[in-house]
């Protein structure tokens, strides 16, 4: 754990539950590859911090948007920031998240940065993503375009998940309604149902899939 990262984060309040989910899943997926090098292509400072802290600061960070300013973020470990053209190849890469204006460029860069047998994890904004503060207001690139882009670059999706979709939102709404009705006992039960319904494995091959209506998605891909 890198303390300066955590200190500049928000140590006295938790990040969004959905961010915890995607970051823990990213760390768990890529941890076996950590000895061979990890990279984080981040569209926001919070994405970079959250993933980097889970990798104990041992990852190269590539800002895909202009969120990094050394003068304004003195606590961010500057040595982790790298330029894509002179960085060494890595075995595991997090891409959080593709944006409409930079996705094509960064896909090409990731293609060069990731070793031939490397694993790529992509965080995808869903239709309910706008409320996630850690995204830094990033415009969503979308599931369909992300899958298409990965396919064009010969990546095959191995697994995909969505977080906080329609069912968990429904229980979150019930939680709020029961709390307002003076029934905290039922509100708590609704929250547990919300947490149980929070994650869904999705079939990325289907063009119409309600489970994609979610806050964030997570794709694990490797080259064909």
């Amino acid at each position: 754990m890198v303390e300066t990262l955590d200190t500049t984060l928000q140590p006295w309040q938790s990040p969004s539950l959905v961010i915890e989910h995607v970051c823990d899943l990213g760390a768990q997926t890529l941890y076996p590859l950590h000895a061979r090098g990890l990279g984080i292509v981040a569209s926001s400072a919070d994405y970079a911090r959250q993933f980097l802290s889970r990798f104990d600061g041992a990852a190269a960070v590539f800002p895909s948007r202009t969120w990094y300013d050394a003068g304004k973020q003195p606590y961010f470990p500057a040595e982790c920031i790298q330029a894509p053209h002179d960085a060494p190849q890595v075995a595991g890469m997090i891409w959080a998240e593709p944006t409409p204006d930079t996705a094509a460029v960064w896909m090409r860069r990731i293609d060069g940065l990731l070793s031939p047998d490397g694993v790529l994890c992509v965080v995808v904004a869903g239709r309910l993503a706008a409320r996630v503060p850690e995204r830094g207001g990033t415009r969503a690139f979308g599931w369909r375009k992300t899958i298409q882009l990965l396919s064009e670059h010969q990546f095959e999706i191995q697994t995909a998940f969505t977080f906080h979709g329609l069912s968990s939102y429904t229980f979150a709404l019930l939680n709020a309604l029961w709390a307002r009705a003076g029934r905290p006992d039922l509100a708590d039960r609704a929250e547990f149902r919300m947490r149980a319904a929070f994650t869904r494995a999705v079939d990325w091959r289907r063009t119409v899939d309600l489970s994609r209506i979610s806050t964030l998605g997570f794709i694990v891909a490797a080259r064909k």
């Binding site: 006295w12 823990d24 768990q28 076996p32 889970r54 029934r183 708590d188 039960r189 994650t199 869904r200």
Partner: protein
């Protein structure tokens, strides 16, 4: 459960009422150290075998080595890990360190000073400057938000008392601990079915009317320190009331109800197994002050939750957390999961029952446990040995933690819930 990298310490998955954390399994410097250190010290006191003292010191060394320059501890947030600044976890760590330092000092071992300095650094350079609310005269739970959580504040008070005992400087007691104890007293219900219960927390001036026997019991040791220091009966009375509330909400099988709400509504499940030891221990602390609750049934409840290989299960009824229907015959996966930050409570309590000058029996303990359980209502099989914890459903491996690793090797979508 010990991990070597990236940091030495005790790791493993976590199940909790508030949240689960099955993916991050690294060494966590949280409240598990309060119980682990005290348990080893109990064994040392009972047997005079220095091996136990050195195990306690090794745990203390984890904390010294891990402490950040700021005074905070890494991965100190238990079910919320991997994050720092865990409350009450950092203060609970300090309690363990103080207990270790006190034993070493009594033996003339100079190592005690390093442990005491670690506590001093955490309390006075980190927690107090960031969380002390001078206007409210109590410890906040969130830095930038008026907030108060009595059980967490009580853990902080306990650490302040214990450090003062070590250093001889009681200024912190007058300035921080006693005002905080007085703030906790205002959160205790005085009349009715919930008499003795303590509000769970207050946020932005609004009290949250949730009452948990476990957290009421966590307040007892600090109240007793307050009583010992001041002689004010109000503290011991509050502790007695809190424990009587806990025991009124104990089921016939010795387990304690999880959560009670106004008007007598409850969310009974899951009921703690290992964690129940903290409640029973609080009862034992209060016996000299007139508490007459019978702890035998609860002790049986805890012992019945022990696995063949020595691990202690976390609870019964996690699978009923949403429905609150009575659990079936099979425990849920999280019920039997031996979680370091819960098992330490049982470890501490049970070792405290060993009489002085005891010779520990040699046990033929199997090094594995295979337990039938359930997940999402379907049968599953828990397996643990010296190297792994696994969960299987038929021939499918759903979960694997290779002990010592900071992240689970396998955690399928069925278990991706927090």
């Amino acid at each position: 459960m010990r991990a070597a990298a990236p940091r030495a310490g005790y790791g493993g998955p976590v199940a909790h009422w508030w949240k689960n954390n099955l993916q991050f399994t690294g060494a966590a410097l949280d409240w598990r150290y309060e119980g682990i250190i005290n348990a080893y010290l109990n064994l040392y006191r009972a047997t005079n075998d220095r091996r136990w003292l050195e195990k306690a010191a090794r745990a203390g060394d984890d904390l010294i080595a891990g402490q950040f320059p700021s005074g905070s501890y890494p991965d100190s947030s238990f079910e919320q890990n991997p994050y720092t600044s865990g409350r009450p976890h950092e203060a609970a760590v300090d309690i363990g360190l103080c207990a270790l330092a006190a034993v070493l000092r009594a033996e003339g071992d100079p190592r005690w000073q390093r442990y005491a300095q670690t506590v001093q650094h955490n309390l006075y350079d980190y927690l107090i400057p960031r969380l002390w609310d001078e206007s409210a005269r109590s410890l906040r739970d969130a830095r930038h938000l008026p907030s108060f959580v009595p059980n967490k504040a009580a853990t902080f008070c306990e650490a302040v008392f214990l450090l003062a005992d070590l250093t001889g400087d009681a200024a912190g007691i007058a300035r921080y601990a006693l005002p905080t104890l007085d703030a906790i007293l205002k959160f205790q219900v005085q009349t009715g079915d919930l008499a003795g219960a303590i509000y769970q927390n207050q946020l932005n001036g609004v009290r949250v009317a949730r009452f948990m026997p476990y957290y009421a019991a966590r307040v007892v040791p600090a109240m007793l320190y307050g009583y010992a220091h001041t002689g004010r009966a109000v503290y011991v009375d509050a502790a007695l009331q809190a424990l009587r509330f806990c025991y009124r909400w104990r089921d016939p099988d010795g387990a304690f109800v999880q959560m009670i709400y106004p008007n007598g509504r409850v969310n009974r499940y899951p009921r703690w197994v290992a964690g129940a030891a903290d409640i029973v221990r609080a009862g034992d602390l209060l016996k000299p002050h007139g508490f007459d609750g019978d702890s035998a049934r609860s002790l049986t409840w805890i012992l019945d939750g022990q696995h063949p290989n020595g691990g202690v299960g976390t609870a019964r009824g996690f699978g009923s957390q949403s429905s609150q229907q009575a659990p079936g015959d099979l425990p849920e996966f999280r019920d039997i999961l031996p979680v370091c930050g819960w098992a330490d409570k049982a470890f501490r309590y049970l070792t405290g029952l060993i009489p002085a000058n005891a010779t520990l029996p040699t046990l033929e303990t199997p090094d594995r446990a295979d337990i039938e359980c359930s997940l999402h209502g379907r049968p599953a099989r828990y397996h643990e040995d010296r190297t792994v914890i696994e969960l299987w459903q038929r021939d499918t491996l759903l979960y694997r933690w290779n002990k010592g690793e900071p992240w689970a090797a396998i955690c399928t979508s069925a278990l991706l819930w927090k």
